[in-house]
Homo-oligomer: 286 residues x 2
Amino acid sequence: MKLASLKRGRDGQLLVVSRDLARATDASHVVPTLQAALDDWDAAAPRLQEIADALEAGRIAHLAFDPKKCAAPLPRAFQWADGSAYVNHVELLRKARGAEMPASFWSDPLMYQGGSDAFLGPTDPIEVVDEAYGIDFEAEVAMILGDVAMAAGREQAARAIRLIVLVNDVSLRNLIAAELAKGFGFFHAKPSSAFSPVAVTPDELGHAFDGAKLALGGPGRPVAEGGLGYSCIAERRMVETIRFGKPQTEFLKFGDRVRIEMPDADGRSIFGAIDQKVARYAPRGK
Amino acid sequence: MKLASLKRGRDGQLLVVSRDLARATDASHVVPTLQAALDDWDAAAPRLQEIADALEAGRIAHLAFDPKKCAAPLPRAFQWADGSAYVNHVELLRKARGAEMPASFWSDPLMYQGGSDAFLGPTDPIEVVDEAYGIDFEAEVAMILGDVAMAAGREQAARAIRLIVLVNDVSLRNLIAAELAKGFGFFHAKPSSAFSPVAVTPDELGHAFDGAKLALGGPGRPVAEGGLGYSCIAERRMVETIRFGKPQTEFLKFGDRVRIEMPDADGRSIFGAIDQKVARYAPRGK
């Protein structure tokens, strides 16, 4: 099934969305929010699946699904851990910062805890104070988990996967070097992430999901060489630096648009599109 | 007023506690959880204050307050940012790791985002897989904030302070160097933090709170020199290394007890005591 959150209050209002993303039906009479569903997933999931089946069969009242009215499926969360599963991305970005990548990164996962108190909806603007911060996107896949015990093994963690979403991990590249030099990881350099309109259960992904990892993407390669391009500007700039001596693609400017979407093998959008404009942030309050 | 959360469900059940920490009364008929109170603080706070006033005056049914039945005031939170306000602590710890402290640390705050999905209650055990991880405590003061807009200034942030708590920022010292060397900050080296039994509003602190900072502590100094000792073992070990050539105090062992409490100027406990035993963690699930 596919779930979304209508913008409402701090945690949204739970919707069940049709597989083709055309229709949606309110599920908040069963479970008010996606967080509440996750907190009691074994009870909530079968009831939400019934709604999804009824929606798919046209047996239930529904409205057109409008991603513009959506918050992130989880508008805020109790944990947000961002890992680097594509180590080639890390290697390129470190090269771009003039930093070495330790060999252990190929076996020991690189992961940080980020802000999870204010996620952006799929069409919310990317608001930044200053273009000079080096505004970039990163297209990522995220898993929404149930409870994972401390020291869980791989199988135990994989069994906790409840839902899968796309993410725009907004990054302020020109703040990263100074921030990481302090030794405590990212803070200002990773502002609020944005999420796809819907979160999907693993069964929606068929063979593309192996039980632990989604395989509908791969390392970046130039389009001219048969690749699909890059999932962030920093990576492209690094490749340009290696090839041409300096980066040629600029970071995002106010007014630029970022669109992130993942089609299935038949070309149909799985998660809906993250579609954001970059905008100047006007400080609020005093 | 002073607020606590009885262990119940994932977010606890809200209690109002008397100033002397002897009595408590259920507040969940007004606001079910502390998170719900924070989400609508302007509406919740006056109603909770009425209960606190009635409890103080003995005009309301109550029970003896039992910290052993308490979760952390916020059993989980949407954000947990840990900053180093006492730069001398950072300087000592860095020396202990053989790392330099950049001069900018004296003006540019050092802060990281940590795990906030599973905080420990005041008397919950500190469960660790292996003593060899170098188990340590850090006694800290934390502020629970309302909404803070991006790019807020100092005054704006100070006005968002809702409650103050004590924290045991459990640290696994022997995991830190390797983890920080990866460049993305702490993860395994900072397991769940524990919190004091009650969270208090700033007015409970009188002149000890200047509107932004609580001044009832100070840099560590040996007891023999008129100081109050240290708020973590690592700092003491560093001082021992400087004085005697090597550390003499061992990190915590299974069975050891950590007690963290802050008295007011008259010697009365403000927040109640964090009082935890260190225990071997038995992995759960498979």
